[in-house]
């Protein structure tokens, strides 16, 4: 969190709010339908924010570790750190907002020193607020890109009171064109006293709503629990993989619900929820003295299915909710039959917002472009080649590598396999597409799975181009990109597992060279074919941050730490051990661990700017963005734009060449 968000003043708070959409890193909260509060908070310097905060310290329940706690999923929502008396206070509208849980504004008061995960939107950064579902849901829309910032569902009633507060504080005015849209008023002076005054004018009772979910629960616990389950299922329809795991486990147990309801009510009413750490750590590895928040349990989902994919397509074939698609893929990968289609979007060969017809056209263009480039090397004469050593070197290296890439895979088996020819042709064409980069060992490893999925030369080429866009710095002449990543990996390890980091330091292994192969070809050599496909598509979503592959590396090292230490491995032995891990790593376990480490780091306080940048956060001190420049030093931005004079000159030469070749054709 930005350090400037301290000592805020809560102007109003609404309870029972579900986060329905939000930044990707809040996916667990969204998945779990965590209940929270939505507040309007005033900070120093007249910064006014809308903040959502989960009621409990957020805990990601693990379906397979909470057998005894079959209600746990419901509990995650129903259980709060609210005592019975508070519940009453809440229902009788005593005039103060029941707010026993740690305030988001003063995290230090929290006994566990965990900063609650707040979804925060500065009012000035918003364009408008949309109201829908009969006023039960609101959506905050960014000013910068017009996209959804976050979406909330009001369980206890509707959003009226919340909107009324905003209106009364003059932040909001109804849109002239659409009665469901409220525009943010710009340049308003959020004077604190004025805000308080206007707030005082409001009726507190209204804000809290009458007959909220809790009081309903008291009157009719069973009915409302079912009601709640129904809502849950709604929340999960977009993520069937996860729904199946969690939802069915509860619905099959409806018989026990009735009997346990009383207990449930007691839990709800009297016992504060146990500290999330203790429950999450029960089933989890101990944190290694790193002063970080605990690692949450992570649930993986099932692969994106054809049916789901079709639901994401609009009538003209656009992908309607790109972020959601990516979330599903991040959580579970893609069904094999669907890969050739979806990879084209993930690798930015097809624009997400293109229509089906546009894509057909786009593909035609790209096909032409491909063959134009292919023709360039196909028409190279032996004499030209003889005088072009850089080209010859690249060609030679490709020939050497193609015949030893994935040859044990069925798709590339046999000496006269035509797929080897495609592999060769695509890599050669890539040399013409990006001659400076050319061909470097490792690229054939990156292309081979793509070609086997696409089974089409042109599609595979453009998808490969998309993949290379993500990893081209791995192949820098001076290996600067690799060195930087090893350095970043070093930072992350130091943070996530200081004990392991110290061990590396003491045993001459802090350079992390043993991870070189992992990073260069994105673990291609570490997993079986099908796992490689899953891992890559997960990484291509760039969720929860674009350096997730580094966190994945930390996860594997973390997993192996005990072996390193028990055997007192020196650098050489670590390298050997890591090389021999190939095909012995449990992909799903490591993905879970990597994501857990991500949240652990993300939620930590006092992150260095280096780490913030690595995990895709803004540096806390903007002057530190200097390090961005350092990164860019390695890439000379050669301007390819030509002056009009140059362009005219080139055009003239081009026409001349065409004319000459025409003459040759005719005579």
């Amino acid at each position: 969190m930005d350090d400037s968000f301290e000592n805020g003043h809560e102007i109003s708070t609404n309870d029972g709010i579900l986060l329905r959409k939000g930044p990707a890193l809040y996916l667990p909260e969204i998945l779990q339908s965590t209940t929270g509060t939505l507040s309007l908070v005033h900070y120093a310097n007249n910064v006014l924010c809308i903040e959502w905060k989960p009621n409990d310290n957020f805990l990601i329940a693990d379906a397979d570790t909470q057998v005894q706690d079959d209600w746990s999923f419901v509990d995650t929502i129903a259980k709060r750190t609210r005592t019975a008396s508070e519940t009453i206070a809440f229902n009788t509208s005593s005039g103060t907002i029941a707010h026993k849980e740690p305030s988001p504004i003063t995290p230090a008061t929290h006994q566990n020193q965990i900063k609650p995960r707040i979804v925060r939107a500065k009012i000035v950064d918003l364009k408008n607020i949309e109201v829908y579902k009969n006023g039960h849901s609101i959506r905050l829309v960014n000013k910068s890109d017009g996209k959804t910032h976050s979406e909330y569902f009001f369980q206890h009633g509707n959003a009226d009171s919340f909107l009324r507060t905003l209106k009364t504080t003059h932040c909001l005015r109804p849109s002239r064109n659409n009665r469901n849209i409220y525009e943010i008023v710009e340049n308003i002076d959020y004077d604190k006293e004025k805000l308080e005054k206007t707030f005082a004018e409001l009726k507190i009772e209204d804000i809290k709503g009458s007959g909220g979910w809790i009081s309903n629960m008291v009157r009719n616990p069973i009915g409302h629990t079912f009601d709640f389950l129904a809502k849950m299922s709604d929340a999960y329809t977009v993520l069937p993989g996860v729904v199946q795991n969690v939802y069915t486990s509860h619905t099959t147990d409806t018989s026990s619900m009735a009997t346990s309801t009383n207990d449930e009510y007691e839990v709800l009413g009297t016992s504060p929820r146990p500290s999330s750490e203790s429950s999450s750590n029960d089933n989890h590895e101990k944190d290694t003295e790193n002063n970080l928040p605990p690692r949450p349990h992570i649930i993986r989902g099932s692969p994106l299915t054809e049916k789901q994919w079709c639901e994401f397509l609009s009538e003209d074939g656009r992908i309607t909710d790109v972020e959601r698609v990516k979330e599903v893929i991040f959580r579970g990968g893609i069904e094999n039959s669907l890969r050739s289609e979806v990879w084209k979007f993930l690798l930015e060969y097809y624009p997400w917002d293109s229509t089906k017809i546009e894509r057909i056209e786009h593909r035609k263009e790209k096909e032409k472009e491909y063959f134009k480039m292919k023709l360039q090397w196909l028409t190279m004469t032996p004499e030209q080649e003889k005088n072009f050593s850089d080209y010859r070197d690249r060609k030679c290296q490709i020939e050497k590598d193609v015949k030893r890439t994935d040859r044990t895979e069925e798709f590339y088996q046999g000496d006269d396999n035509q797929n080897l020819g495609f592999l060769q042709d695509i890599l050669m064409t890539y040399v013409m597409y990006n001659f400076d980069l050319g061909y470097v060992q490792g690229m054939s490893d990156l292309l081979a799975p793509i070609l086997s999925v696409m089974n089409n030369e042109v599609d595979a080429f453009w998808c490969f181009v998309g993949f290379m866009e993500l990893v081209y710095t791995n192949f820098d002449m001076d290996q600067a990109g690799m060195k930087r990543q090893l350095q970043d990996l070093n930072y992350l390890t130091a943070l996530a597992n200081p004990r392991l980091f110290r061990y590396f330091e003491e045993h001459g292994a802090e350079n992390m060279y043993f991870c070189f192969r992992w990073l260069l070809v994105w673990f291609k050599r570490e997993f079986q074919h099908s796992d490689v496909l899953t891992l890559w598509e997960v990484l291509w979503t760039k969720l929860p941050c674009s350096n997730f592959h580094l966190l994945f590396s930390v996860a594997i090292l973390d997993d192996q730490m005990n072996i390193f230490i028990a055997n007192q491995f020196e650098f050489n032995e670590i390298l050997k051990h890591v090389n021999e891990l190939s095909t012995k790593i449990d992909l799903q376990q490591m993905l879970k661990k990597a994501e857990a480490i991500y949240y652990q780091i993300r939620r930590a306080e006092h992150l260095s700017d280096e780490v913030r940048l690595i995990i895709g956060e803004e540096p806390s001190n903007l002057s530190a963005s200097k390090s961005d420049d350092e990164y860019d030093d390695n890439f000379d931005d050669v301007s390819v734009e030509k002056s009009p004079k140059d362009e005219a000159n080139r055009q003239k030469k081009y026409e001349e060449a065409c004319e000459r070749s025409m003459i040759n054709n005719f005579f």
Binding site: R404, M477, M482, E570
Partner: protein
């Protein structure tokens, strides 16, 4: 000599891509030949305990990626190397012509007295496939004062001889240095990147002597 008892000799295999570096390491250490093989990414090593004229020696053989791009990584490994097996492919003139590049690279990065052996692989090839005659290998080997073998990983020809020759030369080198520098060889050495092979002028307390950083 007691000096060399159970010592580790660190050896590098260098040469162009696809000349058979990984193959020769497999052949020598695992006594196997793989027909379908993959290019090496990054760096790896294998160890073999050998009997060098009655003295047990641990040969630690480092295998690297061949492409020039990855030199910045592999030069870090030159540092502790005592011996280098330099390879080319007799069916590839290019790989032979590139030997000058490799020799220059060795000169720039390895210890000045590092021991070298030259090996021309794939000598089992058909005469029509051969691009480099044995005489040319002999000549370059003579010029640079290194023993030379034509080898075949596929048919297991001269593999053992190459490595044993390298090991013997390393031993001789160390004995020679031991005469000039009394403390050489008597130092405690860790397995792996031993403190030897750094050249006579950096012996002793080089802070980097146990590290593999670049």
């Amino acid at each position: 000599m007691a000096l060399d008892f159970a010592a580790t000799y660190k050896v590098l295999v260098l040469g162009d891509s696809n000349v058979g570096k990984t193959c020769i390491v497999h052949r020598y250490c695992d006594e196997r030949y793989y027909d379908t093989y993959i290019s090496t990414i990054g760096i790896d090593f294998k160890q073999k305990l050998i009997n060098l004229d009655g003295v047990p020696i641990k040969l630690q053989i480092w295998d690297t990626a061949g492409q020039e791009r990855f030199r910045t990584l592999t030069t870090a490994y030159y540092r502790g190397a005592m011996g280098i097996l330099l390879m080319y492919d007799v069916t590839s003139l290019e790989s032979f012509n590139n030997l000058s590049y490799w020799l220059r690279n060795i000169q720039e990065n390895a210890a000045p007295d590092v021991v070298k052996v030259l090996a021309g692989n794939k000598c089992e090839c058909l005469p029509a496939q051969r691009m480099v005659e044995k005489e040319r290998g002999d000549k370059i080997a003579e010029n640079f004062d290194m023993p030379f073998f034509e080898v075949s990983c596929k048919n297991n020809i001269n593999i053992e001889e190459s490595f044993l020759t390298l090991a013997r030369q390393i031993r001789e080198q160390r004995e020679h240095r031991g005469e000039n520098f009394d403390n050489d060889g008597m130092q405690e050495r860790k397995s792996g990147t031993g403190s030897n092979g750094l050249g006579p002028f950096t012996l002793g307390n080089s802070p980097d002597s146990n590290r593999c950083s670049c």
